[in-house]
Amino acid sequence: MRYHPLTPEDRADMLARIGVDNIEALFADVPADKLLREPLPFAPHKSELEVERILSKMAGRNVAASQVPFFVGCGAYKHHVPSAVDHLIQRSEFLTSYTPYQPEITQGTLQYLFEFQTQVAALTGMDVANASMYDGSTGTAEAVLMAHRITKRRRAVLSGGLHPHYVEVVRTLSQMANDNVVSLAPDVHAREDVVAAIDGDTSCVVIQTPDVFGNLRDLSAIADVCHAKGVLLIAVVTEAISLGLLKSPGAMGADIVVGEGQSIGNALSFGGPYVGLFATRDKYVRQMPGRLCGQTVDAEGRRGFVLTLSTREQHIRREKATSNICTNSGLCCLAFTIHMTLLGETGLERLARVNHANAVLLADALSGMTGVDVLNETFFNEFTIRVRGDAGDVLGRMAERGVLGGVRASRLLPGAGLDDLIIVANTEVNADEDRAAFIDALRSSLQGGTH
């Protein structure tokens, strides 16, 4: 077996050195009747070639985003990732190192985490960011717990524009941790009144912008009300590229900003691994979950970096920790930070403009079409349309014509009366001919409908 360096002779020599007759002697603590003696119900080991054949065949049964005109978003976005990113993250020294517990020999990891934290703080307009969470949804749940700790209150108010899966993640953790959560009804026109839902036990208000339907939300006025009532405003951003063009949540008064960082540097990968962004104000840093990297000096006075403020974490505080989080998304942070570095401010802003312009072009083309309404007044690179007929049927017919046209709102929100809504994302990967294909496919899918 190609991954096992020991030979049978090695094993025999080693057992002799240990002073036992056979390998079973080393498993003597396992109750004898529990030791598995029969072979596992698997085939024997396979060559690289055989494994590649099997997996390539499975992969071939999926439609890759790059193969078709692709307009699916809602929390994960198809972007172009530069070749340098994937090359660099596969460097052995990055790929096969662990959490930087020994700072003298992990300065590479620590320095990129410090750079990541600085980039995330700048993008979100906040004072300080951590070294990442699992993803945006788990980061949102952690932000709610953090707000409870800071305010000593136990009730969260969730905007109806928050991604429905994020709502479910927060609701699940809150129910299990005996906290309260109120989520407002989803409204494609973003007319909700979150402020009215605040009561004396409310710790935080959670608002996503752009929201799940693509609407941009101005948080400034809500932030003022929240602060007057001692409530924290948690802003959620699921499309990180939007931060290149939009006013930052920090500038609008958010106290905690959570983001899904997948769009920058990371592949779609069917939902994971992704990278959660988490940023806040200086005064709350000790209530933050997750790892933090800080600057210091070594014994010769040279600048270096270490994991710091780790007394917040589970390995020291145990049951009093701020969170049970242990792993971060190290390699995904690295991909984020390399992509961000390659973009720079100029590249990021331009990329964001291309995304927005592409979306505007499509929205404009659709607004003259019979049987289709574009519902958003504002959007970044994603908007919602109402179609004549069932959105799932329309998307199915578009898929038959080779276009993956978006996400039906009813997949995220079944039973909410949103059966005719499609959420459509446009990024820089959608060229003119992709938009033309979308329009053609949608038009013929509507005509082919039963209505």
Binding site: L40, P44, K46, S97, Q314, T327, T341, L342, V354
Partner: protein
């Protein structure tokens, strides 16, 4: 004719010490500034096309101020991150015996497979008919995990070990709520030797944590555990093999006791890699166990993540598994994404889990097969016991000559009087080119040194490693304390001031204050 240009190839001064250089580089060891000190806002390493001219639909929310994000051209960026990479220890370069973390070889085939467009470039919300191959892979991996554990169901979505632990404990809580015993069953028993995530998880869910002591052999104290069992006990959280690297000998007895008290048995599966193919947790009475795919199935650790933490569940807990999960509709596979009509306790994460890790883990299982999986466990245990045998005369073992599983545990009793601590010893290993073992964990052992060689190490590599540790140990005993207390001397950095970092946290780069302003 005499050749006057022949050059000496040896250094003329054999005593020459490393000197301070102009660049502060040391040969191939290159110093590297922060991105923010070398990048410029107007530089980009990506040629983005010209945006089409359109009106905007941004309302009044367009950004007006600069963000403060410098860029680098592609050659500069490559150089920056390549230089950073070279300051890192890595399993690809040398033995990385970090106990409990399982730093084993990461097969490159698995990286290639995860990057196939059909896996890496598919969206979690595209039509399910267009991702049947991906669902089939998740289903196949899930079945493999069930076969290896003899359990009833598996929740695939948790993003890491601690997240899996949270998922498993939520399933237990959901089962207790369903029994109407939420108010009375509030205690979770956790051994002193447990990973810190265990009590943190239990506390997060509102349980009261009670500690169970270890006995003199390093096992959970059976009588103490039994004495704590009662109608208030929701669960016991046990790591097996435990954090001391030992198989819990009374595990079946403990499982029976918690079941008799009508509680549940949560097993922390962080050390499952020692027993894959040798013993199945389901046969031991486990009700829930997370599996760290990055440990047991060798998905890369990548500087601390990403991980993946699927949770296997017993029949009693299976109905409460979180969404999404996969069901079969005739020929097709279908994701159940909402809890309506199920007993599911809810949702752990936005999408379906760590697909990139699933592909790697499945490729690992296919590559190893029935024979290779069992061999991996046996070799991991063999290597750890070999390290133990090679060092036992010099370094003290807290639990005597008992065989270990996949990691060998030493304490610091043998260092007493040398002036060298566990930390110093570990730092001296760095000068010898090794990443240190896990230190000061588990907490139940004083000055713990936990060595996990994994099955990836050859006999020659182990012999050099143990010879190095023997040399260091004898050096410490001879009183050569300066080799330890000032170490490392040869790493990219000497010891770092962690106290200063924590007292005055600097958590991001800030532009230097101009001298003119600073003087005012």
């Amino acid at each position: 004719m005499l050749h006057t240009q022949a050059r000496h190839t040896k250094a003329t001064d054999h005593q020459m010490q490393a000197k301070q250089t102009f660049t502060r580089n040391r040969g191939l060891d290159l110093e590297e500034p922060l991105l923010f000190e070398i990048g410029r806002a107007e530089v980009t390493g990506i040629d983005v096309e010209e945006p089409a001219t359109t009106k905007t639909r941004l309302g009044r929310l367009e950004r007006k101020e600069p963000i403060g994000l410098p860029g680098l051209s592609e050659p500069e960026a490559i150089r920056h991150y390549v230089r950073l990479s070279r300051m890192n220890a890595a399993i690809d370069a040398n033995t990385y015996p970090l106990g409990s973390c399982t730093m084993k070889h990461n097969p490159r085939l698995n990286e290639k497979m995860a990057r196939l467009a059909g896996f890496g470039d598919i969206h979690p919300l595209q039509p399910q008919s267009s991702v049947q191959g991906a669902l089939a892979l998740i289903e196949a991996l899930a079945k493999n995990l069930l076969d290896l554990t003899n359990m009833s169901a598996v929740a695939m979505s948790p993003k890491a070990g601690a997240h899996g632990e949270l998922c498993g404990m939520m399933a237990i809580k959901a089962a207790i709520i369903a029994r109407g015993e939420e108010a009375s069953r509030r205690t979770v028993l956790v051994p002193d030797s447990a990973h810190g995530t265990n009590p943190a998880t239990a506390a997060l869910l509102g349980f009261e944590v009670k500690s169970v002591p270890a006995d003199a052999d390093g096992d959970v104290h059976l009588d103490a555990a039994k004495a704590l069992m009662g109608p208030d006990v929701a669960a016991i959280m046990l790591t097996n093999p435990n954090t001391c690297g030992l198989f819990e000998r009374d595990i079946v007895e403990i499982a029976r006791a918690v079941h008799e008290a009508r509680g549940y048995f949560y097993c922390d599966g962080a050390n499952f890699n020692a027993i894959v193919g040798k013993v199945r947790p389901g046969d031991l009475g486990v009700d829930a166990m997370h599996i760290n795919l990055h440990k047991t199935f060798s998905t890369p650790h990548g500087g601390g993540g990403p991980g993946a933490g699927p949770v296997v569940l017993s029949e009693r807990l299976a109905p409460y598994a979180p969404v999404p999960f996969i069901v079969r509709d005739g020929e097709a596979l279908r994701l159940v994404e909402h809890t309506e009509g199920t007993h599911s306790f809810g949702r752990m994460t936005a999408f379906h889990g760590q697909m990139g890790m699933f592909v790697r883990a499945y490729a690992y299982i296919l590559s190893h097969g029935s024979d290779g999986l069992r061999q991996a466990s046996e070799d991991a245990v063999l290597n750890a016991n070999y390290v133990r045998a090679c060092l036992a005369d010099l370094m003290s073992q807290p639990f005597g000559e008992r065989p270990c599983m996949h990691e060998a545990l030493f304490d610091d009793a043998w260092l007493k009087g040398t002036g060298v601590t566990t930390l110093d010893f570990a730092k001296a290993m760095i000068d010898e080119g090794y990443h240190p073992m896990t230190m000061y964990f588990p907490l139940v052992v004083h000055g713990a040194m936990l060595i996990e060689p994994t099955e990836s190490e050859s006999l020659a590599a182990l012999d050099l490693f143990t010879a190095t540790l023997r040399d260091l140990a004898m050096s410490a005993r001879r009183g050569e304390t300066e080799r330890f207390t000032g170490a490392p001397y040869l790493a990219p950095r000497r010891r770092l001031d962690e106290t200063g970092a924590a007292r005055k946290p600097v958590l991001k780069w800030s532009p230097p204050v101009p001298i003119r302003d600073a003087a005012e």
